[in-house]
């Protein structure tokens, strides 16, 4: 017994998105009072650099990148290229069996580098599991990110050394941690800010709704950076929401902005604006970076089961790296030498990543019992001793042979 009529009733993906966007209210909060930032192709989309690499004006957000130097622009380009290279290397290392799994950021470089570069050293970042570009901006050695995907640890770095929290796999959990951390920052009277990353799928989780509530009620200095890459594994954004995600913020009483997530300049500017609001005691902001996941959800996913190739192709035309390159070339901010040097640097990074991963040792067996508690625990001690005796019994056998 089949139900075919439902397929006809389901709104088409693109139509759904469009109608939701056009039916939507104006951007909320301070941003709404200023330029609506509708320079891009999508309504309500803040854009400073078109897909063709043309710089466009935006009265609200231009000031946040007005003093950017050619060197800084080249830096953003370099960040994106190296991050993409690192990601590609990790993907092929997974294919070669060196990693158990990989969650690729391909296509999301601008969202991550733009927002990541907007943070200050004393800000604190709460990522999900795909924020390799943000980690790069925070100075985390990219090879540190690979341990958990290789299966040698469940984290792999000290969050406090770069103010970059551990990757969080349970969807949405970290938004509450970010909010609590931000509440602490405010209590301390510090002027740093906090940024929490999550996906469009995550926006459905209760934890995310609760983090919006807490951050609003306590006016916490936190920026919610939602990378809407259009898919939560196989589910398109319409399976999570009927209104554009940035509009959610309005119901909680703080501003929400949709930014072109493939435009690194716009992401930088909008995130700087939001972080400054946080620093100045103006509370939370929701940024929806409208972008696209070019690859599979993870290396164990098969996107051909649920999405068409043409969709990816249409997003390839909006590639974040290409558009900045076009702009750099047209404005003579970068020459051939720069690109050649970067290519060499990129090769070297790939090589280093490969070497480090292949040399990564398996953890010591006793690591199972390490750090289970900060203050120790009798049961863990007892089980560790049993484990040791059991291991030793094999060693004895071996010697006996």
């Amino acid at each position: 017994m089949t139900v075919e009529s439902t397929a006809a009733r389901k709104p088409r993906r693109s139509a759904g998105t469009k109608s939701a966007a056009s039916a939507g209210a104006k951007r909320t909060g301070p941003a709404a009072k200023k330029s609506p930032g509708t320079t891009g192709a999508e309504p309500e989309l803040v854009q400073l650099l078109t897909p063709e690499g043309k710089r466009v004006k935006d009265a609200t957000y231009d000031p946040y990148v007005a003093d950017i130097t050619p060197e800084e622009l080249r830096g953003l380009y370099r960040d994106m290229v190296l991050t993409r290279r690192f990601d590609a290397e990790a993907t092929s290392l997974q294919r070669q069996g060196e990693l158990g799994l990989w969650a690729s950021l391909l296509g999301q470089e601008a969202a991550q580098i733009g927002s990541g570069r907007a943070t200050r050293e004393d800000d604190y970042v709460f990522p999900t599991y795909r924020e390799h570009g943000v980690a790069w901006c925070r100075g985390v050695d990219p090879t540190n990110l690979l341990g958990m995907f290789r299966g040698v640890n469940n984290g792999g770095w000290d969050p406090n050394s770069n103010n970059f929290h551990l990757y969080t796999i349970v969807i949405g959990s970290q938004t509450l941690h970010a909010t609590g951390y931000a509440m602490g920052v405010a209590k301390d009277g510090a002027d740093s800010a906090v940024i929490a990353y999550f996906g469009d799928g995550a926006s459905s989780q209760g934890d995310v709704a609760e983090s919006f509530t807490f951050s609003a009620v306590y006016n916490a200095p936190v920026v919610f950076f939602c990378q809407n890459n259009q898919w939560a594994i196989s589910e398109p954004t319409e399976k999570q929401t009927r209104v554009p995600l940035y509009q959610r913020a309005q119901g909680y009483g703080f501003p929400g902005v949709r930014v072109d997530g493939n435009d690194v300049l716009a992401c930088l500017a909008v995130t700087k604006w939001a972080l400054e609001r946080a620093r100045h005691g103006e509370g939370p902001t929701l940024i929806e970076a409208f972008t696209y996941r070019m690859g599979a959800h993870t290396t164990s996913d098969d996107p051909t089961k649920y999405r068409a190739d043409e969709e990816r192709e249409s997003w390839e035309a909006k590639d974040p790296i290409l558009r900045l390159r076009t702009y750099l070339e047209a404005s003579h901010h970068a020459d051939e030498g720069f690109f050649a040097e970067l290519e060499a640097e990129s090769e070297a990074l790939g090589k280093r990543v490969r070497e480090v991963v292949r040399a990564m040792p398996d953890p010591d067996h006793f690591a199972i019992f390490e750090n289970v508690y900060a203050d120790g625990h009798a049961l863990v001690d007892e089980e560790r001793a049993q484990f040791a005796a059991y291991q030793a019994s094999f060693a004895d056998e071996g010697e006996g042979k």
Binding site: G172, A202, S204, S234, K239, Q240, V372, V380
Partner: protein
């Protein structure tokens, strides 16, 4: 129809298909269960054949999934909910424990909650954090929930039918590392009751009791012990709430020794309950204390250490030797 060999995951798929076909009130709900067919493809093809009204891709919200399934059940539906991985059930734990488990009692038995919650569980597939846990004791501890786990395709097929037909909420733990193991499924055979344990292999010297992913390991251990002249009985418990203590008792009265094996941490686990009850029931029959083999009191380790963590053949045989040495 003759018996057919199929993988455990496929057996669940066929079981769900049969249930959807038989009863228009049966619904499948969860993340990615539609077009993708679930991350393990257990629901593959069901949405295509039964439509989006019956096989529902839900928003990414576990509390929402279980909470709305409760509402649908109150309205006469029989939702079968998929939680993508063991470690992701906890956002829904509140709904399961505070609502799903207790509503029937609170309503003086006047309402029924025929909700099945499918959870792929356990380790051994080299996954990252939160993808390899065995939280069955956390659910079995809660009155009002029934907790089961098949170990082979035939049980998977029939136990799913029975779970869906049950008027109680059933937490259906699927041993994910056995998803691809094939065995015979006879769709005409009349199965035993859902909560009855099954003797997988007869033996005289010791009983190994297990469920889900560890049954296979225990059968292998029994075969290895056989070569050393030890006769081991293997019991597949199939249900962790209720536990078929009568079957365990009958086996122990015969073999006089019991080792309980599971992947979950030993401390306060299913094995602890079985050890206590069997000690009460069979004190004068036992030749050795009931031993337990399982996980440690530590977070599930990263993939490269899971072989140390998970009970394998050697750890089971070691416990067998220790028991026989008494």
């Amino acid at each position: 129809m003759a018996a057919e060999k199929m993988a455990l995951a496929k057996a669940i798929n066929e079981s769900l298909r049969t249930a959807l076909d038989a009863d228009p009130k049966v619904l499948i709900m969860g993340e990615d269960v539609g077009k993708l067919g679930g991350v393990f493809r257990v629901t593959d093809g069901l949405q295509k054949d039964f439509g989006e009204d019956r096989v529902i891709d839900t928003p990414l919200a576990e509390s929402g999934i279980v909470g709305t399934a409760i509402g649908l059940a109150l309205r006469g539906y029989r939702p079968v909910v998929e939680i993508q991985f063991d470690g992701f059930v906890f956002p829904a734990y509140d709904q399961i424990v505070t609502q799903l488990a207790k509503m029937h009692a609170r309503a003086l038995g006047k309402i029924k909650l025929p909700v099945v919650i499918r959870i792929p569980y356990g380790g051994g597939i080299g996954a990252v954090e939160h993808h390899s846990e065995s939280p069955e004791a956390l659910f079995a501890h809660v009155a009002g929930l029934k907790v089961v786990s098949p170990s082979n395709a035939s049980d998977a097929y029939w136990m799913m039918q029975q779970a869906i037909q049950s008027d109680d909420p059933v937490i259906f733990f699927e041993p994910k590392r056995r998803y691809w193991d094939k065995s015979e499924v006879n769709k005409d055979a009349i199965p035993g009751p859902l909560h009855k344990a099954r003797v997988v292999r007869e033996g005289a010297d010791l009983t190994l009791a297990a469920y889900g992913p560890m049954v296979k390991v225990c059968v292998e251990a029994a075969a290895a012990a056989q070569e050393e002249g030890k006769s081991i009985e293997v019991l597949d418990l199939r249900s962790m709430s209720p536990i078929d203590f009568d079957s365990v008792q009958a086996s122990v009265e015969k073999t006089r020794r019991l080792v309980v094996v599971h992947e979950a941490p030993v401390f306060l686990g299913t094995g602890a309950e079985i050890a206590a009850r069997i000690t009460e029931r069979c004190f004068y029959h036992l030749e050795a204390p009931v031993l337990r083999v399982g996980g440690y009191h530590a977070p599930y380790p990263p993939a490269r250490l899971e072989e140390e963590y998970l009970p394998g053949l050697d750890r089971v045989l070691d416990a067998v030797d220790r028991s026989l040495a008494y």
